[in-house]
Assembly symmetry: C2
Homo-oligomer: 206 residues x 2
DNA sequence: TGCAATTTGTGGACTCAGCCCATAAACTGG
DNA sequence: CCAGTTTATGGGCTGAGTCCACAAATTGCA
């Protein structure tokens, strides 16, 4: 077990010859030229100067490339929840999601939201999308359950997936709105506010 | 263009030598023995006495086999919505979803809900699940938009995905509850009621 | 009876994602 | 110089999904 990260200088072993960023950049160029569906992992890797297998040292799946920006912002969700303070759970979740959404301005549209129609094999986008949604739902449900001690597990999970899928629908709408889309946050707020309202008060404070 | 279905007797062309049911039965046996992940399309087809390619004459994807029962019940959703009458849109949706859910008793658990952990390639279950959810969301959003003339598209879509994902979470909970799970409908009702409440009144009648 | 049209079954070939493995290369510290 | 560690690479493999050409089975029509 070595506590050092993969980039510290004094670390044993062969240093990395590439980076996630290089592969992302290579992929972006190819996606623009050919679309995601017509781009193979082999092409991305060679374009970045590495071999196909090396690609899998940096990403677990091709579809991860569609979600890089989203994944980065979602890493902040736990902190955003903690920062939301001891308020009512649905309010805390709403504030935290708006905080994460505030990362996305009109020019920062994730690949995942622009390549909706042009996916290769059946439901590659769907798979990657739902796997992310359920990971975050697990997080949110745990948060709510901890805040509302003894709350019904189904209620926590129901709220988590409902609010997240409403937010996702808002992101799709936002991405499809064209150049005048503005910021993501207002879209998300409009979509999740009714969900939060419907669940407000159902998570009794401990 | 031939209006006759694939089973009418007077239809030209070679009659079908197999059926969806035969393939489903073959698949069920193999899934019980080997799990979904360890069963190949080739095995299912041979077990049903046809070739691999013929499988794709009856199903579009291997994962369709996980959703046969669900798909059959979901076909009733449009009729259930129409039957829900001219009541408030969120009420109509709630009643229609409970109607569909009433198909599922304690012994009728779809494969999709029992093979959650044992999928083959990354996110095969997720892909098939989300593709179904978004198809039904499209339906629901259209229904609500028609009922509430001039309503915000984002609000309609947000409600549709929120209520459906809450129902899906309920189904997961239900399937995981073991032999004493009872009927699906109460689970669904508990999960979607708050969502419907949050959106109630937001779809002004025309 | 024969012939076109139509529909299904089938085998073969292909692409590509994802996975595993053995080996080489590049670095560390002793 | 050596042992340990980490990355890079090539090779091979499985399996889903697609395409295509051709055979087989049925229809209606001449």
């Amino acid at each position: 077990m070595n506590a050092r990260g993969p980039d510290e200088p004094g670390r044993p072993g062969r240093p990395r010859g590439s980076s996630r960023e290089m592969l992302q950049e290579a992929a972006s160029e190819l996606f623009l030229e050919q679309t995601y569906a017509r781009t193979t992992i082999e092409q991305i890797a060679r374009h970045a100067g590495v071999s196909r297998n090396t690609f899998f040292n940096y990403f677990q799946a091709k579809s991860d490339l569609l979600w890089v920006e989203v994944d980065v912002s979602l890493e902040r969700l736990p902190a955003a929840l903690r920062a939301a303070g001891p308020s009512e759970p649905t309010d805390a979740v709403r504030r935290a999601l708006l905080d994460v959404a505030s990362d996305f301005g009109p020019a920062r549209v994730p690949w995942a939201l622009t390549q909706q129609e042009l996916m290769a094999t059946t439901g590659e986008l769907e798979a990657s999308a739902l796997s992310r949604l359920s990971a975050q739902a697990h997080l949110l449900a745990g948060f709510v359950a901890r805040r509302a001690d003894g709350a019904d597990g189904l209620l926590c999970r129901g709220f988590a997936v409902a609010v997240l899928s409403a937010a996702a629908a808002a992101a799709v709408e936002w991405a499809g709105a064209g150049v005048a889309r503005g910021n993501l946050a207002p879209y998300v707020d409009a979509a999740i506010a009714p969900v939060c309202e419907g669940f407000r008060g159902r998570f009794s404070q401990p």
